[in-house]
Each structure stands twice: as structure tokens, then as C-alpha cells.
């Protein structure tokens, strides 16, 4: 199988095998937070190909200033590991040392240190996000870094064991490729989501399916939709992760998509809301999963009014040659009482009668727990969202403080002897 990812670089896993505990014995231990642990896991499985470790100064600078890696591959978002000076001193770390990254009290990965460096955080934020406004969540995240960074390649030493319902939806990039091959998919269009699907989303995916099928005959079907949810940092008011995955999956289970055209998976990643740069990142990510096409709608991965609605589409157009994946550009869907259907604003001429799917409106319906009409949301999706709310969300399909503090973890790591020594 051809496992070439972004910029035709091979998708390679970086996982330590054989007598792992022995190899880890005596390494200094650096605990990491959730964001970093998620990035370590994603890099180790090749989601970020060709990036396979935390970036050094040159990589960060070329990412920020030229939107590429030193090898010329298109790359938009710095992947960095910040550490506190005290921590470096405490562990007595120096370049070419190896350190064991620990998460949830268990070994996670080794980091082979290449470099220590510091970076101007304001500059990093401004170049990545086009603003220094701390109201931008990506800027806020950057400004919270310590300013001192450690770079180096990582090797996963402990594979995450996902809890249900995540276990059902977890696939590494190589497993994505195998799953596509099993389904005989030649073309796969990725749908980026952090949402429970309403009928507007469902129609967008269906419109994208036709675009992605291109000129292939349809006597046999060789095109699929990959719904790839982003699982990472949650904020109050977001949909709970479990409702997103199970709600998306309910579209296929309910027959709104056939088994042979639809699949739901997820990627561990904290959204940076970097608008155009995040769109590039999503395109790279899904290239590595083996997708041939990627949906981009209005205000892709934007936040507030920091980016214009079609900024992301513009940058994708400009960088088109450096991407293997084809963007499928889409306008918004709305409900039109004249057409009597969910339709696309690019097509329907009844602008004055159209009714927009607003997030606030859907949220208010779900908060009331009132089953929507089929034109708003499929009953199977609604039912599974409500049962997820009871089972995982402490009664709410939206993230609450209780969910943030007491939710069941996405995955566990096996304890290993090494830390005890």
C-alpha cells in the first residue's frame, strides 16, 4: 500500500517496541499536560507527518514566516513543547539527553533532546494568528507558554487505551488507510467537525460526496465521507465529545448515509482557531489519514471576527500546489420554505425567505430537550445526543464545569514499573 502522506513523505509510526521498561530505566522524568500528551500521541502515529517531534527554533521561524518547514513542506502551525527553566535545571537536562515524558502518572514517550531555545511569545502569537489580542484563544494559549522550549524527536512508549465510546472511533493514520482500502474507497472527502450534526451539516456532506466522486462512474461506489472529529480542549458550552461522535455515527446507523459511504473517526488536537492557518493544518492532517478531498465551508476554524468568512478558502487556493488533498469549497446550507428543503445558499434564490441554521437556535432546542423536526435534526441523532447527555454529560449535551472536572477520560495509559524505580 502507498502510505505517502503530506508532501509525499511516508507516514511512519514512532513507537518503541521490545523491553520498553528496561530502556526507560533511569531516564529523567518530565510530566506533561494534556495538550502536549495529545500532540505526542498524534505525532507518534504520523498524524502530523512529516513533523515527528517538537520543533526547534528554525522550524518555528520558517513555519511562522514562510509557512513551511525547513525541508520546504507546507506547514502552518508551530508544534512546540514549552518547559520551565527550573524544570530544566531540576532535571539537569542538556542537548542530546533523552527524557521520559509522563502523563496521568504513567510513562508516555521519550524525547531525544536536540535543542533548548526561547522565543518571543508575542511575535509567535501575532505571526500565527495575525493578532496579539488575548481574546483570540490561540493567542491566549501562546501567551501562556513559558517562553522556553525544548525540541526533539519523540518515541511513544505506551500506547493509549481508549475508553468507550472513543475506542469505537479511534484509528491511527495507517488504520485509516487500511479501513479505506477495505471499503474500496478511491476518493475520501474529510469533514472536519466539533459539532453534533444538524440537517444542514448532513446536506453539506452529501454535496461534498458528489464533488469528491468527481468523474468516477457510480455503478459501483468508490467514494466515502470521513467525519473526523477534533477531540481536545473543551470549553463550557461546547458539545460534549461523546455526543459529537455518537451523533455523527447515528447518521449512518439511521441510514441517512449507507454503510459503504460514511465513517466516523477522530484526531487528538486542540483547536487553535487559527482560521486560514488552521485550515492548512486540517488539510495536511487529513492528507496523512489518506483522504483525497477536504470540505471547507464558511469561516473554517475561525473565531469571533478575527478572520473574514472566506479567508481560509483564499489561502487554500493560494497554497493549492503544495497540497495533495483537493479542497471542496462549500457555501452555507439553509432551510428554504419555498424550496421546501434544506438547500445551499449558492443555489436557492429565495434569500428573503431562507432560514439559517444558527448554532444558538439548535443549542436552544437541545437545551429544552424538545425533539426537533427531521428538517432540523434527525430523530436518531437527537436521541443519541440526549442519551449521551445522561450517560456522559451529567444531564447536558453541552460541556459544563462538572463535565470538565469529572468526565471520564478519553484514554488511559498503562502503569509501568519504570516510574517506581
Amino acid at each position: 500500500m502507498n502510505n505517502l502522506g503530506h508532501n509525499d513523505k511516508p507516514v511512519v509510526e514512532h513507537i518503541m517496541k521490545g523491553e520498553v521498561e528496561k530502556k526507560l530505566h533511569g531516564l529523567p522524568v518530565l510530566p506533561v499536560r494534556r495538550e502536549i500528551a495529545h500532540e505526542v500521541i498524534s505525532m507518534a502515529y504520523g498524524f502530523f507527518t512529516p513533523v515527528s517531534g517538537f520543533m526547534g527554533r528554525d522550524e518555528v521561524t520558517s513555519t511562522l514566516s514562510r509557512m513551511e518547514l525547513p525541508d520546504g513542506s507546507l506547514w502552518s502551525i508551530p508544534i512546540v513543547l514549552d518547559v520551565k527553566q527550573e524544570e530544566i535545571k531540576r532535571l539537569g537536562l542538556k542537548p542530546s539527553d533523552s527524557v521520559l515524558l509522563e502523563y496521568l502518572g504513567a510513562p508516555l514517550a521519550t524525547l531525544d533532546i536536540d535543542e533548548f531555545f526561547s522565543y518571543d511569545l508575542g511575535k509567535m502569537a501575532e505571526m500565527a494568528y495575525g493578532t496579539r489580542d488575548p481574546k483570540h484563544p490561540g493567542v491566549k494559549r501562546t501567551m501562556e507558554y513559558s517562553g522556553d522550549f525544548v525540541a526533539g524527536r519523540i518515541n511513544l512508549v505506551n500506547e493509549p487505551v481508549f475508553n468507550e465510546p472513543f475506542s469505537e472511533f479511534w484509528k491511527t493514520p495507517l488504520q485509516h488507510r487500511q479501513a479505506f482500502a477495505m471499503k474500496n474507497w478511491k476518493n475520501v472527502v474529510a469533514h472536519q467537525t466539533r459539532n453534533v450534526p444538524h440537517s444542514g451539516h448532513e446536506s453539506l456532506m452529501k454535496q461534498a460526496w458528489f464533488a469528491a466522486n468527481e468523474d468516477m462512474p457510480v455503478d459501483e461506489i468508490h467514494t466515502g465521507v470521513l467525519v473526523n472529529a477534533i477531540i481536545g480542549e473543551k470549553r463550557t458550552g461546547d458539545y460534549i465529545d461523546e455526543a459529537i461522535l455518537l451523533g455523527q455515527d447515528a447518521l449512518r446507523k439511521g441510514g441517512y448515509f449507507k454503510d459503504n459511504v460514511h465513517m466516523v473517526t477522530f484526531t487528538l488536537w486542540d483547536m487553535r482557531y487559527a482560521g486560514p492557518r488552521e485550515a492548512i493544518f486540517h488539510a495536511i492532517l487529513r492528507t496523512n489519514l489518506g483522504c483525497t478531498h477536504h470540505m471547507f465551508g464558511r469561516d473554517h476554524a475561525g473565531v469571533g471576527n478575527f478572520y473574514k468568512p472566506y479567508d481560509a478558502q483564499d489561502v487554500l487556493k493560494a497554497e493549492r500546489d503544495k497540497l495533495k488533498i483537493k479542497p471542496v469549497f462549500l457555501r452555507e446550507n439553509w432551510y428554504c420554505p419555498v424550496c421546501n428543503e434544506v438547500t445551499n445558499e449558492a443555489l436557492c434564490g429565495h434569500e428573503n425567505q431562507s432560514q439559517n441554521f444558527s448554532g444558538t437556535l439548535i443549542r436552544s432546542i437541545l437545551t429544552d430537550g424538545v425533539k426537533p423536526t427531521k428538517r432540523v435534526m434527525r430523530p436518531e441523532v437527537f436521541d443519541v445526543v440526549m442519551s449521551s447527555a445522561d450517560k456522559y454529560g451529567f444531564g447536558s449535551p453541552f460541556v459544563t464545569n462538572e463535565y470538565l472536572n469529572s468526565r471520564q477520560p478519553v484514554f488511559n495509559l498503562q502503569k509501568m514499573e519504570v516510574l517506581a524505580s
Binding site: 440537517s199 432551510y335 444558538t360 437545551t367 424538545v370 426537533p372
Partner: protein, 104 residues
């Protein structure tokens, strides 16, 4: 019906609720809002809004776009709907009565 710009609470109406409204002779005051979804708009005064937000701190008043009180807990919305049905009204007395009963 609330005047434009007046404070309101949207109570979503599905088939089950529509039946109850029909039985109470109130079906025609439910308004279609979006793709077949109906709402009952319950009017609210400034004082009642403040009292409601004090009692249910998760709720938020959207002063900029919809002028509606959002994120009211589901059980509270159920209670407001029942009160509207009982009083045959969508006026501010519904919230007044509802809060009065919650006090006891």
C-alpha cells in the same frame, strides 16, 4: 405576543406540546420559527428577567440579537410551559406566577 424588542422566553413546541396547546385553545399563538419548529414566546418584564436570572444563574439574557433569555434549564422551561398552559396566556403573568410558585 411580545412587542418587537421586548424581553421574551422562547419555549420550543414539538408535536406533543402542540397537542396540549390545541386542547387549551392556544395552538394559534405558537409561531413557526425554523424549519417546522414552533415556539411559544412568553413575554417577560425587566424585573421578572432579573428575578429569573438570579434564581437560575446558568441562564443568560441575549441583549444584542434575540432579546431572549437563553440557557434556562430544561425543567424550568417545562414548568414555564405548564404555567402558560394553565393560565391560558403568554403574558408576563406566566413568569410572575411561575416564580411565585417556586418561592413557596
Amino acid at each position: 405576543m411580545t412587542k418587537d424588542g421586548g424581553i421574551k422566553i422562547d419555549v420550543w413546541v414539538n408535536e406533543e406540546r402542540l397537542e396540549k396547546l390545541k386542547a387549551a385553545g392556544l395552538a394559534e399563538i405558537a409561531r413557526e420559527k425554523f424549519a417546522g419548529m414552533m415556539v411559544l414566546e412568553i413575554a417577560c418584564t425587566e424585573e421578572l428577567k432579573d428575578a429569573l436570572l438570579r434564581k437560575y444563574p446558568s441562564a443568560k439574557y441575549d441583549s444584542s440579537t434575540t432579546h431572549s433569555i437563553e440557557l434556562i434549564p430544561r425543567e424550568v422551561k417545562d414548568g414555564i410551559f405548564s404555567t402558560a398552559l394553565r393560565l391560558h396566556s403568554t403574558g408576563p403573568e406566566v413568569i410572575g406566577q411561575f416564580l411565585q410558585e417556586k418561592k413557596d
